[in-house]
Symmetry: C2
Subunit: 232 residues, 2 copies
DNA sequence: CCAAAAGTGTTCTTACTACACCCATGG
DNA sequence: CCATGGGTGTAGTAAGAACACTTTTGG
């Protein structure tokens, strides 16, 4: 069917955000408590309406800044998927473009949020417990976590969870937490330092993890990891 | 920002389809000629409006059936990405949820289409030529092709391009065409028959490719290829 | 000195590549 | 008999897993 300029059905379009971080050795997501019906008092993913003259990507960026105070330079932000079930919002027809954001653990807890109550919660608790998120946000969160897990394998995205500069050990802990399994430190070190363009030495070292001083690194310009890091 | 039931900006929501097939040893996409402004006379991806009470996925399925006559049992259909630039349609604010469909070469050329002119065109010609598709459909097509290429590596999706049952040689030709590079037939045979759950023998054979009779296969129930087939 | 984390070397095993070779059909 | 594609065997090589071992700090 061809586009027709007149008489099209009206939709509301929103963005929802799956904001992930690694905190206290757990993968955590940002959730906000809803202050009004429907799902009043329940936890939900942060999000909001796309403005009339606003790009969808820009809306995601704006909402992220509003909820976390984070700029695009500090986080990785990408489109996740779009959720368009007619009954996903009981009030009206809403199509939501979900986005995935990966951030380093924030020194300050969720600054600049305009939601009454916003906090980090471990994804295992959010997805495993009996308490469900509002709307179809369980499904969106699940999809976001799955995407993040998959992308660690073949992209340098894990570094988005680390504050720069970081050590190889800190980076390894990110993989272990996100994948939920231990990784051999020796082999990990070799693979990750050997992947061209992944890590750039700063020349500095640190002993903040204890033990022998570790090299500090920043992320390189590689966009794809070759060979990929594989989950056992 | 929390959802508010009143005073939300109105959008039109459409689905656009990147329908791919392998035909005449080339990766081809389905395009329709636009009969009205804007972009009148230009080629575009098939698509149309999502109806008020219709799921976005159902809309994609419906449009696919309208344009090609194909049912969901015959093709692979998945959401690709959403395109939401405020200026992507000069008439109004349209957010489009693009979908990717992979189909076997059709015996009949595009049956049941309600577009005046619909046809298969090699993606190389569509993306390489100076003639651009309508709207942002060049970008959408490019994203769809890239997704398809990537997914062949680690999913059994290549079989969606083959009519069942198929031979290993036919399957290999799909990979060669989509990736644009020759593959060693011997090693390919071993890898693909060795991947658990990918191929199921029918017990039948055929000589339709000439030479020694080849086993005929159907797709198995594997959803992930281990180990993945890699592009050189 | 000891614990802890960083980093290197080595061995074993597995997977991929390249290519020799045989098989079963049609013409 | 020969051309054509189907299918198997095998040797060489690259990559990953497991783990012994050395290094450098803090306490």
């Amino acid at each position: 069917m061809a586009y027709q300029a007149s008489d099209y059905p009206p939709f509301a379009v929103t963005v929802d955000l799956v904001v992930l971080t690694v905190r206290d050795d757990a993968l955590q997501a940002l959730v906000v408590r809803r202050g009004s019906a429907p799902f009043e008092g329940r936890w939900a993913l942060p999000g909001g309406f796309v403005q009339v003259e606003e790009d969808v990507a820009a809306a995601a960026e704006r909402e992220l800044a509003e909820e976390t105070g984070l700029q695009l330079t500090d986080v990785h932000l990408e489109q996740l998927a779009t959720y368009g079930d007619p009954r996903r919002d009981p009030r009206m027809r809403v199509v939501s473009v979900a986005h995935l954001a990966l951030a380093a653990d924030l020194p300050t807890p969720v600054a600049g949020s305009d939601a009454a109550d916003a906090r980090w919660r471990p994804v295992d608790a959010l997805l495993g417990g009996s308490r469900r998120l509002a709307f179809d946000h369980d499904r969106i969160l699940r999809d976001g976590v799955e995407r993040a897990r998959a992308k660690l394998e073949y992209t340098p995205l894990a570094a988005s969870f680390c504050g720069e500069p970081f050590t190889v050990g800190e980076l390894r802990r990110v993989y272990e937490v996100v994948w939920g399994q231990p990784i051999d430190p020796r082999n990990f070190h070799r693979k990750v330092t050997g992947a061209p363009g992944f890590l750039v030495e700063t020349g500095e070292t640190t002993t903040r993890q204890g033990g022998r001083p570790a090299q500090l690194y920043r992320v390189g310009d590689a966009t794809l990891l070759v060979p990929p890091l594989l989950r056992g």
